[in-house]
């Protein structure tokens, strides 16, 4: 017994010595607290889980990974300070973040100057169009989600569309894309309403929408607003089909909306319907493993957002391994060459002109039935 303990101790010591040499420092700016914490918390959890997983397997290039994570408290100023700190004080070789589009937009211009790659976990298209050579993002674009919804809408033969979006960065981005795509694809936009992130009653907006007699409503927001929208729609007895955005693709939404969630449709990443995927799907094994690992460790359901954390850190790890270097510029070059990399959010293929690497196939249209997701064919 003692001997085994001794062996373990020696092994740990050896590992520690080996690791103590020279860690690879990766920074992260995450909204662990504040209004965006529902995104940031699973991201942070996942980042730490992935880091430990990598280190348990011997690290990268034989060196341990050190994650320097700062909370931006969902505040743009704090995000800028955190990015400054990572670049100037901690001297990291790459940065994951930020959680929100606003924070990412605020910090991303610092990265070309510092020649350090940034992998964002937020959705806005402005992050990667036009392409900023040092900025990548793993969250799928709103355009892809919206495209997926409109494809379904078109298949049903609907003509008149109403949109209802939350007045924050997420809702604004979706609203802009929808206002562009809806007319462009031959639909008529009959109503364009907005609600506040903290609003608790949307019957006024829905009543106004009902007056415009749309064939379908698209609601773009993150919890809890859309849950209130779903409840209010049921309360008003509206039968108009309601599409949600990928922003509510979590069990929490079904819990909050209760019975009124039944029949709602939304584009969702593969994660939440992993068990329903065919085994041939390239992501399936990965998704199942991540779900099991996360739920066991954090005792809470997985979310797409946590998946962004997985994707960004794993992509960086992959780039470091292929580059065989932790020089920031080498990592950047290697990132741009990543192809057909199965992640949580989709299968990534970066190119010099595409720093998001995903398309509409990152999403499945799902419907809520019996309190669970069902893939729509």
């Amino acid at each position: 017994m003692l001997r085994i303990l001794g062996l373990v101790a020696a092994a740990v010591l050896w590992a520690a010595q080996g690791f103590a040499a020279d860690p690879i420092k990766i920074g992260a700016v995450v909204s662990v607290s504040g209004p965006a914490s529902f995104l940031g918390e699973p991201e942070k959890n996942t980042l730490e889980m992935v880091k430990e997983e990598i280190n348990a397997k011997g690290g990268l290039l034989g060196r341990p990974v050190e994650l320097v994570l700062y909370d931006d408290e969902s505040d743009v100023n704090k995000a800028v300070l955190a990015a400054e700190k990572l670049l100037k004080k901690d001297g990291v070789c790459a940065v994951v973040g930020a959680t929100t589009s606003g924070s990412t937009l605020a910090i991303m211009n610092k990265f070309p100057a510092a020649k350090v790659p940034l992998v964002s976990m937020s959705a806005a298209e402005k992050i990667v169009t036009p392409v900023n050579p040092f900025v990548f993002k793993v969250a799928p674009s709103d355009r892809h989600a919206a495209g997926r919804i409109l494809k379904h809408v078109k298949a049903q033969g609907y003509k008149n569309i109403a949109i209802l979006s939350v007045s924050d960065g997420f809702g604004q981005a979706g609203r802009e894309v929808l206002k562009e795509l809806v007319p462009a694809q031959g639909f008529t936009l009959v109503a364009d309403e907005v609600f506040g992130p903290k609003d608790t009653d949307m019957t006024a907006q829905l009543t106004k929408i009902a007056d415009a007699k749309p064939d379908a409503i698209i609601c773009w927001g993150t919890n809890p607003g859309p849950a209130v929208v779903a409840r209010n729609r049921a309360q008003l007895g509206m039968k108009t089909p309601l599409y949600m955005s990928h922003g509510v693709a979590s069990k929490k939404f079904i819990e909050l909306a209760g019975e009124s969630a039944e029949g709602l449709m939304l584009p969702a990443g593969h994660l939440i319907v992993a068990s329903q995927l065919p085994d041939s799907q390239p992501q399936k094994a990965l998704l199942m493993a991540y779900t099991a690992g996360y739920q066991e460790r954090f005792k809470s359901p997985v979310s797409t957002f946590g998946g962004h954390g997985w994707d960004s850190l794993k992509l960086l790890a992959k780039a470091i391994e292929t580059a065989k270097s932790d020089k920031p510029e080498d990592i950047r070059d290697a990132l741009e060459k990543v192809a057909a990399f199965p992640g949580i959010g989709g299968v990534f293929t970066f190119t010099p002109t595409d720093h998001n690497g995903l398309d509409e196939n990152a999403f499945e249209m799902v419907v809520i039935q019996g309190g669970d997701w069902k893939i729509l064919q």
Binding site: T200, D201, T203, K208, P224, A227, G237, L256
Partner: protein
């Protein structure tokens, strides 16, 4: 043109009842102590969050709500004893900062213990909406309006019939004189904090089935509650409740007829214009406040 007006009215009254109940809590404390309690919204949050937590812990709904409300009332008393009483007659602005600090603290504790998620509470009597004129009404809305009216009526009785109520009114009028007459101003202050904890929590508990709750709902409610108080005229409980309902209806009509993006702005513009014309609110006396 007026399509939806009944619905807007119903929605506005429901949301307005939220603001009104928060505003009542403000009034309660303001009247006895002259303090604007910026932690008032946190009492509402506590009412909702504690009900959710206790329900999950296995208590039946009515019991969970009762316990949550009592806990919040206790929290109010505790707040008065711990941070308000020791500073005595400090400048009003200092007291405001203290209450802001308390609200940050309470929010932080709730966040650390129960997380940042949003939670729902089942409706008291089903969710099947009722039709009324052209509007659809959730049964819970009726609960909210009925309980708000009940609370208002009870307050009126309390102030006019009970010795405690009369003593509180005396403190409101003239603290020194009240003290001379043997009323313990300190006890009354603690009592008023307890009462407003109670009122806020009642609001939080009955509204959560409609509005959902999370650790940070108190900020917005506190803000709107304060606005409702001012709209009605600070210090007048009836004004506070009416101010809340008016504010809710303004927002709802603003969203319906003007622009949902600017509905809050619309409500605040009306409030500002009103203040410019009537600087002490709708039902406020000519006497300006003590600050």
């Amino acid at each position: 043109m007026l399509f939806g007006a009944p619905q807007y009215l119903v929605s506005g009254l429901t949301v307005g009842a939220t603001y009104g109940l928060t505003a009542l809590g403000f009034t309660m404390i303001y009247n006895t102590t002259g303090i604007i309690n910026f932690a008032q919204g946190e009492f509402v949050m506590l009412g909702g969050m504690l009900s959710v937590v206790l329900l999950k812990a296995g208590l039946p709904l009515p019991l969970a709500i009762l316990a949550a409300v009592l806990c919040s009332a206790l929290a109010g008393c505790l707040m008065e004893r711990a941070v308000i009483r020791p500073v005595g007659r400090a400048a009003p602005v200092n007291l405001v900062i203290i209450t802001i600090g308390v609200s940050i603290l309470v929010r932080g504790v709730v966040m650390l213990i129960w997380g940042k998620d949003t939670f729902a509470l089942p409706a008291f009597s089903g969710a099947k909406p009722l039709r009324f004129l052209e509007a659809s009404v959730q049964p819970q809305s009726l609960w909210v309006l009925a309980i708000t009216l009940l609370v208002l009526g009870a307050l009126k009785l309390f102030f006019s019939r009970t010795i405690h109520g009369k003593a509180m009114l005396a403190c409101a009028c003239e603290r020194k004189a009240a003290a001379l007459m043997g009323i313990s101003v300190e006890r009354m202050a603690m009592f008023s904090f307890g009462m407003s904890g109670f009122l806020g929590a009642v609001g939080g508990a009955i509204l959560t089935p409609i509005t959902l709750t999370s650790y940070d709902v108190g900020v917005m409610l506190g803000l709107k509650g304060f606005a409702a108080c001012i709209l009605g005229g600070l210090g007048n409980p009836f004004g506070a409740a009416a101010g809340g309902l008016i504010l809710g209806v303004l927002e709802s009509f603003g969203a319906g007829f003007i622009s949902s993006a600017y509905k809050d702005a619309f409500a605040f513009i009306v409030l500002l214009l009103l203040l410019f014309v009537k600087p002490t609110g709708l039902f406020g006396g000519p006497k300006s406040d003590r600050v």
